[in-house]
Each structure stands twice: as C-alpha cells, then as structure tokens.
C-alpha cells in the first residue's frame, strides 16, 4: 500500500496487489495483479494490472487484463484498454475505451506467471520502485 502522505515518482513493478492512497507519477506495471487507486490517491501514470479499480484521480492510460472499474468517486482522464470496463454512477471519464469482450477468454488462456514462494509473498514487500 502506498499511504496518503507518500509521493512516488518513477516506475512501480512487482508481483502483488497494490493500493495507492498517495501520489504516484510515472508508471505502474503489475500486469498479473490488482491495482486500486483509493479515494485519496492521485496518479499521473500509465497503469497496467489484471484488475484495475479507480476510486481516486488518474491521468494516464489504463490497461486491465481482465477488467477496469471506475467507481462513483473515480475521475479518469486517459485511455482504457480492457475486455470489460465498468463505470459507476457519478464516475467521471474522458478519453477512449477499447473493449473486446471476447478477449477475456483468450487472456485467461495465457500462461500465468509462476507462483512466488510463500516466504516471498507473506513478509517481504515485493514491489519495486525505480526512481525516475
């Protein structure tokens, strides 16, 4: 989790789910995992995730392997590519949405990354931040 007072500029990669409550500028690449931008989160970055949930503010392109959800408090300016996109009432979105409902089946057929050893996922933060 990136807390409310944290500001990160650079490239975020990793092999676990991420919740952003602070500010991020750069890129977020968690292709096999869930990325959530919470209500206090402010992201100026391209985001890649399996599932991407936006409750806060995002300026940038979003790629969701399974789906992208913009909740009622979400505000997105950018382009979205995902097989399924859900916009909740009250959400603000400006940009393009590329949807291909058939693509979710083909995505699920892709080989999934090897599972991380238990010790690597339970205690050790597995997010990598490269400063930009």
């Amino acid at each position: 989790m990136i807390g409310e007072t944290i500001k990160i500029e650079g490239e975020i990669t990793g092999a676990e789910d991420l919740v952003i409550r602070g500010s991020v500028k750069g890129t977020v690449d968690l292709t096999s995992h869930e990325v959530t931008v919470d209500e206090t989160g402010k992201v100026e970055a391209d985001i890649k995730g399996k599932v991407v949930v936006i409750n806060g503010e995002v300026t940038g392109d979003i790629r969701g392997g399974e789906k992208v959800v913009i909740s009622k408090s979400g505000n997105v300016r950018g382009n979205i590519i995902a097989p399924r996109v859900t916009l909740e009432d009250g959400a603000v979105f400006k940009g393009s949405i590329d949807m291909d409902p058939g693509a979710s089946a083909s995505t699920s057929k892709k080989p999934t990354p090897a599972a991380q050893p238990e010790s690597a996922t339970s205690n050790t933060p597995n997010l990598e931040v490269k400063s930009g």
């Binding site: 382009n79 399924r84 996109v85 859900t86 916009l87 909740e88 009432d89 959400a91 603000v92 979105f93 400006k94 940009g95 393009s96 949405i97 590329d98 949807m99 291909d100 409902p101 058939g102």
Partner: protein
C-alpha cells in the same frame, strides 16, 4: 433520476454493425454507466469527448481581433476538448443536443475537426428542434440498449441555448445528410445522419 425513452432511430445505427470489426464510436456527451455497459457487448473503441462542460464554445471576437483569430482560438479549444485519437475513423457519432448550444459558426469549426475522422459509412445521431422557441431541455441521455435511451435530469443548465431545426442542422453539418428523423412528443426532433462527401 434515470428513466428510459424508446427510440425509433437508434436500431438503425446498429443494424449494420459488423461483429468482426471493432465498432468505433464518438460520444460528445458525458460518459455514462449505461452507455459503457451497452457498448461492452461490442468489440469497440468508445471515445468520450464531453463538450457540455466546455460550453460556451464561441468564436470570441473583439475590436482588435480579426475573425480568423477567433476561429483559430475556438479550433484550438475544440481540438483539446475532443482529443481525438489520430488514427481513428468513427463509425458512429453521438452529438446528443450539444449542437443546440453552439452557434452556426462554431458548428462549422467543429465539423472541420470531425471530418478527418469520418468515413463514407459513418453515421450520426443528434437532436434538433421543431420550434426554435423551445425551452432548454432539462435532460441528457445515454444508451440503455439498441432501442432505448436513458433520460437523466441535468444538474445545471448549459449556457448559450440556440436550438437548430433539422434543416438548419443539415446545412451546418456539411459532412452529414439527414437520413431519417422523428418528431418527439416534446417537440424535439430525433435525427439520424449519414456521411456525405463535400
């Protein structure tokens, strides 16, 4: 509050959709949940460029500025507001009633921005009016399914209401001709447009 309204023209917009090709749609209104949900059933690229918050979209002129400078200024504003993807040619354009909040000159500038993103099979949907004395409609729309619009109540009234008749719209939208139109109960006219080369 959201209600639905049947449309006799909406089905025509989707009857020629080729499921093998991604449908490319330009929506000049706000991104609404029901519209996104409807198009999620298609392979599609859906571009939302909500022009309502950008109103008034006028050609600003003063004593020192020439008409061309005003046109260029509006063209720049529209280019930023539309943010059209460079390589996309749209199959369908939803104007909703935004043209009724734009002057004849401003619509000309908008058309110039849209024209490079249309193709001979492009279609469009718009609302015109039967009488120019009509009051500003207090509703806006999304798409529920291929036969029904959603109808929502506006929180605030956009400025510069200057409604256009069907004939006026056809002359202003130089890259479209009116294919069919339906007079609605509230004296608005629902208009289906097809591309015309100029």
């Amino acid at each position: 509050m959201t209600t639905t309204q049947a449309s006799r023209l909406l089905p025509a917009l989707f009857e020629h959709v080729d499921n093998e090709l991604p449908l490319k749609v330009l929506d000049l209104g706000p991104a609404l949940p029901e519209t996104v949900a409807f198009f999620s059933g298609f392979r599609c690229k859906l571009h939302f460029a909500d022009l309502y918050p950008e109103l008034p979209l006028r050609i600003e002129e003063d004593d020192s500025a020439e008409q061309s400078a005003g046109v260029e200024g509006l063209a720049r504003r529209l280019e930023e507001a539309l943010a059209l993807p460079g390589d996309v040619s749209f199959d369908t354009v939803f104007f909703w009633d935004v043209l009724n909040f734009m002057s004849r000159d401003s619509i000309g500038v908008l058309v110039n921005k849209l024209r490079p993103h249309l193709h001979p099979g492009s279609r469009a949907h718009s609302f015109a009016v039967h009488s120019s004395r009509m009051e500003t409609p207090q509703m806006y729309h999304g798409i529920v399914d291929d036969r029904n619009f959603s109808v929502r109540t506006r929180q605030s009234t956009p400025p510069d209401y200057q409604p256009h008749s069907q004939g006026e719209l056809e002359s202003l939208l130089q890259c479209f001709r009116v294919d069919r139109s339906v007079l609605l109960q509230d004296k608005r006219v629902e208009v289906l447009l097809k591309f015309r080369s100029t």
